[in-house]
């Protein structure tokens, strides 16, 4: 088997991976592995902006940003991490600008900033202009800028390489085994430092903004290597996904003045968040929309109306905003609404529904990006993570819009610097033969799978049932039903059939592998949700409707035992400046 030796191996080429690569490559030999070409990474789909208290258009400061982030997290966010985010964010923006990121500008030429949900001035007084943006393709321009900087710096990319095995022995990470998708075959990537920047797990849900690639592979690889996952039960539903397919309509639309309307044409947010209205945080807004639908005030399609079926969406209305302004600041949503909803946003409302969007949970790391393996914050030597796959935890139980592009870039940079600092002190470790054999055995299993179960059908069943039983509103009965369904699907997953036996670009094996990841880590989401008997941020339990700080102001850590069982542990939240209070907007 071919063995590559790179001092640093980064898995994933989105904002976190490329930003870290730029730092680490200053001192070390870096390889970035990505299952898709770097510029295809899902960071590019971020639309609305990147939060930083530059104060270009108002009297913003970092402390307001920190407070909003902590309050938005429903106080589950670690405040040391939130403080770092808020303090370093402006510098990270300036750095992106210096690299050439093309931001939209104010009339005097400063970086333009817009309103976004949950971002306020003076601790909740009124909306802040904090989101730095480039029209409504901010993630796209950030991703391309960083990718192009990597070209400048000569970072080595291995595109279309799928990591299939993480090599950890004696609490030291030694590298990974990766599958060369284009040519087939496994290759060992031996490394002193391995960093995950492999994105989120939104594809566990049917209605999602996430790309097909967002199947949480990196998280599951760590879980299978005996390492913990943190706070996986917190899955963010973005309030405004295009009806029936979940494609993102940026929160920037509401930042630019869009209304949310129910079937009576009422701006129903006034009943849920009288101060911030449509600019309330995402957990609250998504629940408000779902409540309107559940209580019969959802909008109806003509077919639903004719048949007397209650509507299952609400309207996102921009028709009162001038078309010239919309075309200037929200050009992408013009195209998205036209292509995927058949709607002209300047003239008519877009039907929307909440859509699985962001994974607050993930690989536990400290504020320097070092992977930690227990409640005592013990680092795993040579293993790091940043971005959506990681849980620092900046976002706690609910992330604010525009904080993820910032988190990925900022903590990508921090982690890259940590790696650069650590690499001289890390050594080349042996790769145990049993790891290589295990990876070979796994891949062979997929190639030889000749059962009768259909990969796509199992995936659809998982995604549909996760929406219903482990979505915006949860309760013990549904969650336990879902756990049973996942167990059943895991069993059926052992009897799948894979027809394609080719080495070259075998995407059927790839999809089967991704299904294996989805089925494994979804169990962690559901078990964490069953155990957490409270409502906090994105985790809303109808049977436990209030937050319970006495019992649950703590992070979940989930481990998979060698026999496959999930074991939970908990870890305290870091609280520094802001004591938990009731959240009102």
């Amino acid at each position: 088997m071919m063995v590559h030796n790179h001092e640093v191996v980064i898995i994933g080429a989105g904002l976190a991976g490329t930003r870290a690569a730029l730092e680490a490559a200053k001192v070390a030999d870096v390889a970035v592995l990505s299952k898709i070409f770097p510029s295809r990474s899902h960071s590019g789909a971020a639309q609305g902006g990147m939060a930083a208290a530059l104060g270009n258009l108002d009297d913003d400061n970092w402390e307001y940003h920190m407070f909003d982030t902590v309050k938005g997290s429903d106080y589950l966010g670690d405040q040391d991490a939130a403080e770092i985010l808020a303090k370093e964010a402006p510098e990270v923006i300036y750095e992106m600008e210096h690299m050439g990121a093309p931001f939209s500008r104010t009339p005097e030429g400063k970086i333009a900033q817009r309103k976004f949900g949950g971002h306020t001035l003076n601790f909740g007084e009124k909306p802040a202009l904090r989101a730095c943006y480039s029209a409504d393709y901010t993630g796209h321009i950030l991703l391309h800028t960083l990718f192009e900087q990597c070209i400048k710096q000569g970072v080595r990319f291995y595109s279309e390489y799928q990591v299939v095995h993480l090599i950890v022995k004696d609490d030291i990470c030694r590298g990974v085994v990766a599958w060369d998708i284009r040519n087939g075959g496994l290759q060992v990537f031996r490394a002193k430092a391995v960093m995950f920047a492999s994105g989120g797990y939104g594809r566990a849900y049917r209605i999602t903004t996430n790309a097909h690639a967002n199947t949480g592979d990196g998280l599951d690889l760590a879980l299978r290597a005996g390492l913990p996952l943190e706070d996986m039960e917190f899955v963010q539903f973005h309030p405004t996904g295009i009806y029936r397919n979940g494609i993102l309509m940026t929160e920037g639309a509401r930042g630019e003045g869009a209304y949310l309307l129910n079937k009576d044409g009422e701006r129903f947010m006034k009943r849920y968040a009288p101060t911030l209205m449509e600019l309330a945080p995402r957990d609250l807004t998504a629940r408000a929309i779902q409540t309107e639908i559940n209580e019969g005030r959802g909008c109806q399609t003509p077919e639903q109306k004719a048949q007397g079926i209650p509507g299952d969406f609400v309207d996102l209305d921009l028709s009162h905003v001038s078309e010239a302004k919309l075309r200037a600041v929200l050009p992408q949503i013009f195209d998205l609404a036209r292509n995927f909803a058949g709607v002209n946003v300047a003239k008519e409302p877009t039907p929307i529904q909440p859509t699985a969007h962001y994974s607050m949970g993930g690989l536990p790391v400290n504020v320097d990006g070092q992977f930690i393996r227990d409640a005592k914050n013990t680092p795993v030597r040579g293993l790091y993570a940043a971005g959506e796959c990681a849980c620092v935890s900046v976002h706690g139980a609910n992330r604010l819009g525009c904080n993820s592009t910032q988190d990925a870039t900022l903590n990508g940079r921090r982690t890259g610097r940590t790696i650069a600092r650590d690499v001289p002190h890390l050594s080349w470790e042996d790769v145990p033969a049993e790891d290589v054999k295990a990876a070979e055995k796994d891949l062979d299993w997929y190639y030889q799978a000749n059962g009768s179960e259909n990969v796509a059908d199992l995936r659809t069943r998982l995604q549909d049932t996760m929406m219903v039983n482990c979505g915006i509103y949860r309760n013990e009965k549904d969650l336990k039903t879902q756990l049973g369904i996942i167990k059943e699907l895991q069993g059926r997953g052992k009897k799948i059939g894979v027809k394609d036996k080719s080495k070259c670009f075998n995407s059927e094996v790839m999809e089967a592998m991704e299904l294996g990841h989805l089925l494994n880590f979804s169990e962690v989401i559901v078990i964490g949700a069953i155990e957490r008997q409270e409502s906090r941020g994105a985790h809303a339990r109808t049977d436990f409707p209030t937050r319970d700080d006495a019992k649950w102001l703590k992070h979940t850590l989930a481990y998979q035992e060698p026999d496959g069982r999930i074991r939970l542990d908990y870890k305290p939240v870091t609280i520094t400046r802001f004591q938990p209070k009731e959240r009102k907007y």
Partner: protein, 234 residues
């Protein structure tokens, strides 16, 4: 509505020459060509190979030729094509790897060659942004929406004939940086592109303008650069 999808198939390991295979799919309103490919892969033939990721027109993975035109499969509504048979081919001008996936390495190589990053010998002040007027931002605004899907370069007959040609996507990127007010690399890029495999291989056939899913109009940027070369010389 039942439509026939006539799809280009090629597997280098099969020993068979490339051929078309027909699939019949019941297509509903709202379904895209990418949805249809997904349905075929899920329930008719798992061996069908194509690239896809975001399915919302921003990642650029699923560019392919649909009824003879380069498009993103994810934003092409199948019924709106209004043909009973939909012909799906890989992007032309690149070596097919398997089925609809082509070798884009030559495409990325051209991108890397034009110095696709800000060149500026004067380091900006730390902890401060450089100003840029909205008018100056507007000059590059359309070009920054390029998603590197390769639809334009793949549609270009000059590129088909001359594989050393930089191609419209790389030239748009050269334009995007060179016309950024913060960049000082115009001269360097023009010196590199002032030859028969650079700017002058563009014969203004303008296929690229039709092919671009982001409506970038590459010919315009290329013409700006050509004019600059002439201005600098004479």
């Amino acid at each position: 509505m039942n439509l026939t999808f006539k799809i280009y198939r090629f597997n280098p390991e099969s020993g068979q020459p490339p051929h078309y295979q027909d699939f019949t799919v019941d297509v509903k309103k709202g379904e895209t060509v990418l949805d249809v490919l997904g349905e075929i892969k899920a329930h008719q033939d798992g061996t069908l190979v194509y690239r896809r990721s975001c399915r919302s027109g921003i990642c650029g993975s699923c560019a392919m030729q649909i009824n003879g035109l380069n498009k993103l499969a994810c934003e092409t509504q199948a019924l709106e094509l209004q043909t009973a048979t939909v012909v799906v081919d890989p992007l032309p001008g690149f070596k097919p790897i398997r089925d609809l996936a082509v070798d884009l390495e030559p495409f990325y190589e051209k991108l890397r060659s034009i110095l696709p990053y800000l060149i500026n010998p004067d380091p900006p002040e730390t902890d401060k942004e450089r100003y840029q007027s909205p008018e100056d931002f507007a000059k590059i605004e359309i070009s920054i929406s390029c998603i590197l899907c390769a639809s334009c370069t793949s549609s270009c007959p000059s590129f088909w004939a001359d594989k050393s040609y930089a191609g419209p996507a790389a030239l748009v990127k050269a334009f995007r940086y060179s016309y950024d007010t913060r960049d000082a690399g115009l001269r360097e890029r023009l010196d590199m592109l002032d030859n028969k495999h650079g700017l002058w291989r563009c014969h203004t056939i303008m296929n690229c303008n039709d092919a671009c899913p982001k409506k970038i109009f590459p010919t315009e940027g290329i013409s700006f650069l050509k004019r600059k070369v002439v201005e600098n010389k004479y």
